[in-house]
C-alpha cells in the first residue's frame, strides 16, 4: 500500500461511527421540525434560522475534530450545538427562554453556548465572530497546545471586513484554524453570484492571505468528514490555517419570516433530491449497516428523544426578574448605589 493510500485508509471512519452521524443528522432535522412548530406556536421568540439541508456540514466536520478542539459559529447554530453534544433539553429550554437553557435564557436561538463542550457560540452579527476564532487559535499557539479551532460562517460573511482582517491575521501568524464557509448560496435573499465579485469562494483566500482553499460537497457527510480530517491534521502539523468551502443548501428560508421569493420551488426540489440524510442512508445501506427496519427504529427513537426534550423544556423554570443583573460582569457591581 502506498503512503497516500495508507493515509487515506487512516482517515476512514468506522461504519458504527457513520451510523452515529446518521443519527445525529436525524436529531438535527427532527429538532428543527419541532423548533419550526414551536416558533409558529410562538413558543420561540426572536429570529430563528433553521439549518435543515446543511446537516452534513456540521456533523461531518465536527466528527473529524476532538472534544478538546475549539468550535465557534454564526447564528445558524442549532446543528453545530447538537453535533457538538449539547443536550437537547438545554437547547429547547434556551429557545423557550428558560433559566436552564444552554445560555440561561439570555441568548436564544442565535446564541447557543456550551463552554463544557468547547462550543463558543452562536454569534449573530455577520462575520463578527471570525476575529474571535483567530484569537482562540492565537491562544492555542501562545500556549503551545495541541488543539485546532473550527470556525463556521456562511457565504454572506465572506464580504465583511471582519472576515478579511481575520483571514489576514490567521495567515500572517500561521494559526491552527479551519475556516469552514458553509456556502448555502444565499446571504438572506441575495445569491452569492450577486454578492461576491469572485463567487468561487475557495479561490479567495490562497493568493490573498496565504491560506489554501478547498471545496467539498457539503451534502455528503463522509466527504466533509474526510476533508475536515485532513484539514485538522494540516493545522495540527503547524502549517497554519486552512479554508474549506462546503457547498450546501438550506431548505428553509433565511429565518422563519422569509417568503423566499428569490428562488423557485424547482430549485429547492432539485437540492432535496440530494438530501444529506438520504445520501448517508444510501451509503450505509450499501455497506450493510442499515436496512429499512433499523432506519425506522432509529427514526422512532430520535423522534421520541426530541419530543421528550421539547416537553421537558416546556416544564423548565422561567428566569426571575433579578436574573437580568446576573452575569453582566465577572466581578459584579450593582447599579448606581448610594
Amino acid at each position: 500500500m502506498s503512503t497516500v493510500a495508507e493515509k487515506n485508509q487512516k482517515l476512514e471512519p468506522a461504519v458504527t461511527q457513520m451510523v452515529d452521524w446518521y443519527r445525529q443528522m436525524l436529531v438535527i432535522r427532527q429538532f428543527e421540525l419541532r423548533c419550526s412548530q414551536s416558533y409558529q406556536q410562538q413558543k420561540v421568540g426572536g429570529f430563528c434560522h433553521l439549518y435543515m439541508g446543511q446537516e452534513a456540514v456540521a456533523v461531518g466536520s465536527l466528527a473529524a475534530l476532538r472534544p478538546s478542539d475549539y468550535v465557534i459559529t454564526a447564528y445558524r447554530d442549532h446543528g453545530h450545538a447538537i453535533a457538538r453534544g449539547t443536550g437537547l433539553t438545554a437547547l429547547f429550554a434556551e429557545l423557550y427562554g428558560r433559566a436552564t437553557g444552554c445560555s440561561h435564557g439570555k441568548g436564544g436561538s442565535m446564541h447557543f453556548f456550551d463552554r463544557g463542550k468547547n462550543f463558543f457560540g452562536g454569534h449573530a452579527i455577520v462575520g463578527a465572530h471570525i476575529p474571535l476564532a483567530v484569537g482562540m487559535a492565537w491562544a492555542v499557539k501562545y500556549r503551545a497546545e495541541d488543539r485546532v479551532v473550527a470556525c463556521f460562517f456562511g457565504d454572506g460573511a465572506m464580504n465583511q471586513g471582519a472576515f478579511h482582517e481575520a483571514l489576514n491575521l490567521a495567515g500572517l501568524f500561521k494559526l491552527p484554524i479551519i475556516f469552514v464557509a458553509e456556502n448555502n448560496q444565499y446571504g438572506m435573499g441575495t445569491h452569492v453570484d450577486r454578492a461576491s465579485a469572485v463567487p468561487d469562494l475557495k479561490l479567495r483566500t490562497g493568493d490573498a492571505y496565504g491560506i489554501d482553499g478547498k471545496d467539498v460537497d457539503g451534502m455528503d457527510c463522509l466527504a466533509v468528514y474526510r476533508m475536515t480530517r485532513a484539514a485538522a491534521e494540516y493545522c495540527r502539523g503547524g502549517n497554519g490555517a486552512i479554508f474549506l468551502e462546503a457547498k450546501t443548501y438550506r431548505y428553509r428560508g433565511h429565518s422563519m419570516s422569509d417568503p423566499q421569493k428569490y428562488r423557485t420551488k424547482e430549485e429547492l426540489a432539485r437540492y432535496q433530491e440530494h438530501d444529506p440524510i438520504g445520501r448517508l442512508e444510501e451509503q450505509l445501506k450499501a455497506r450493510g449497516a442499515l436496512d429499512e427496519r433499523k432506519i425506522e427504529a432509529l427514526r422512532q427513537e430520535v423522534h421520541a428523544a426530541v419530543e421528550a426534550a421539547h416537553h421537558q423544556a416546556e416544564q423548565e423554570p422561567w428566569p426571575q426578574p433579578d436574573d437580568v443583573w446576573k452575569d453582566v460582569y465577572a466581578n459584579p457591581f450593582g447599579p448606581y448605589q448610594l
Binding site: Y70, F113, A128, P131, L169, Q337
Partner: protein, 328 residues
C-alpha cells in the same frame, strides 16, 4: 520616590503584570519594534520577546477581535489602540462582543481584556482623529471604563485593569503622557469605583476625570489664588463603576456642582452625572449643575478654533463662578 512620566507609569504597570503573569501579553500597532507610537511600550519587546509584545497590522477590528478570542479562552491581552479614534472601525468588537458575550452565554465566559490608548483631542488632528470615547464606552453595560489623571493613578489603575476579569476600556491622553509625578517603588493597586478627592474644598464640587481633571485642578488653583474660592476636585478615576456616593457626599457639603470633560456635551458623562446629582441631591443644590464640555461641533483643525472648542481652565473658572453666583 522616583519621579516618572505618565507613559512610564503605564509601561511599569504592564511590565510588572507581564512579569507576574505569563498569560498577559500586549498587541497593537507599532507596540513592538517601533517601541510604541507614543513610546508607552518602550523596551517591552526587548524585555518580553516577540511572543508577548506583538505588532499588529492596521486591522483594528481584526486585532480587537483577536484579543477578545484569546480572552475567551483565558489569556489576558492588553490591546493598544494608537488612539481610540481608530477604535471606531472596531466598535462591533469593542461595544458588542466585549461587553455582551459573557451575558449572552449566561455567564459561561470571562473576558479579561484591557483596551487602552489615547482618547480626546490631540494637537490639531481635526475631527475624525479627536474622539473622546468616554461617553460612548461608559454607555454600555458590560464594559468598565477607566480614565486616570496622573501617573500614580495610571499605574495603580492599569494594574487593576489587567487583573480584572472583565473587559476594561482604559483611556489615556496625549497631553498627559509627559506629566511627571513621584510614584512609589513598591507595588500598589488602586480599586475601581473609588473616586479620589484631588483637592479638598467647601465652596464648590468639580467632578472630572482624565485630562479634564488636570484643567479642573488648574482652575481650582486659580480661583483659590485670585478669588479665595475653595473648590473641591473629585477625580472619578473610573466612569464605570461610578463612585456616585463620593460625588453626592461632596455636593451635599458644597451645594454646588460643576462637571468637566473633553468630549461632546450632548448625552455626555457630565450629562449623566448632572442627572444623577439632581436625583440624589435636589434639596442640597443651590444652583443647577453646570457642565463644561467641548463645544457641540466636530473638532476643527485651526489652532485658535480647536482652543475655542476644547475646554480649558478659563472655561472651568467661568463655570464655577456661574455655578456659585460668584460676584467678582
Amino acid at each position: 520616590m522616583p519621579l516618572i512620566q505618565f507613559r512610564e507609569a503605564l509601561n511599569q504597570a504592564m511590565c510588572e503584570e507581564m512579569q507576574r503573569d505569563p498569560e498577559v501579553f500586549l498587541i497593537g500597532e507599532e507596540v513592538a519594534e517601533y517601541d510604541g507610537a507614543y513610546k508607552v511600550s518602550r523596551g517591552m519587546l526587548a524585555k518580553f520577546g516577540p511572543q508577548r509584545v506583538v505588532d499588529m497590522p492596521i486591522s483594528e477590528c481584526g486585532f480587537a477581535g483577536l484579543g477578545l478570542g484569546a480572552a475567551l479562552v483565558g489569556l489576558r491581552p492588553i490591546v493598544e489602540f494608537m488612539t481610540f479614534s481608530f477604535s471606531l472601525v472596531a466598535l462591533d468588537q469593542l461595544l458588542n462582543n466585549a461587553p455582551k458575550i459573557r451575558y449572552m452565554s449566561g455567564g459561561q465566559f470571562k473576558l479579561p481584556i484591557v483596551f487602552r490608548g489615547i482618547s480626546g483631542p490631540g494637537r490639531q488632528l481635526a475631527a475624525t482623529h479627536a474622539w473622546s470615547v468616554d461617553a460612548l464606552c461608559t454607555h454600555v453595560p458590560g464594559l468598565k471604563v477607566v480614565a486616570p489623571s496622573c501617573p500614580y493613578d495610571a499605574k495603580g489603575l492599569l494594574k487593576t485593569a489587567i487583573r480584572d476579569d472583565d473587559p476594561v476600556v482604559f483611556l489615556e491622553s496625549e497631553s498627559m503622557y509627559t506629566l511627571r509625578q513621584e510614584v512609589p517603588e513598591q507595588e500598589y493597586l488602586l480599586p475601581f469605583g473609588q473616586a479620589d478627592i484631588k483637592r479638598p474644598g467647601g465652596d464648590c464640587t468639580v467632578v472630572a476625570w482624565g485630562q479634564s481633571c488636570v484643567i479642573a485642578l488648574e482652575a481650582a488653583e486659580q480661583l483659590h489664588r485670585e478669588n479665595g474660592l475653595e473648590v473641591e476636585v473629585v477625580d472619578l478615576r473610573t466612569l464605570r463603576p461610578l463612585d456616585l456616593s463620593r460625588i453626592i457626599q461632596s455636593v451635599r457639603r458644597t451645594g454646588y456642582c460643576v462637571t468637566v470633560e473633553e468630549g461632546y456635551p450632548t448625552c455626555s458623562v457630565g450629562a449623566e452625572i448632572a442627572a444623577l446629582v439632581q436625583e440624589k441631591c435636589f434639596d442640597d443644590l443651590d444652583h443647577a449643575v453646570v457642565r463644561v464640555a467641548s463645544l457641540d461641533v466636530p473638532m476643527p483643525y485651526s489652532k485658535p478654533l480647536q482652543e475655542h472648542v476644547v475646554p480649558d481652565a478659563r472655561r472651568v473658572v467661568q463655570a464655577i463662578q456661574q455655578a456659585t453666583y460668584f460676584q467678582g
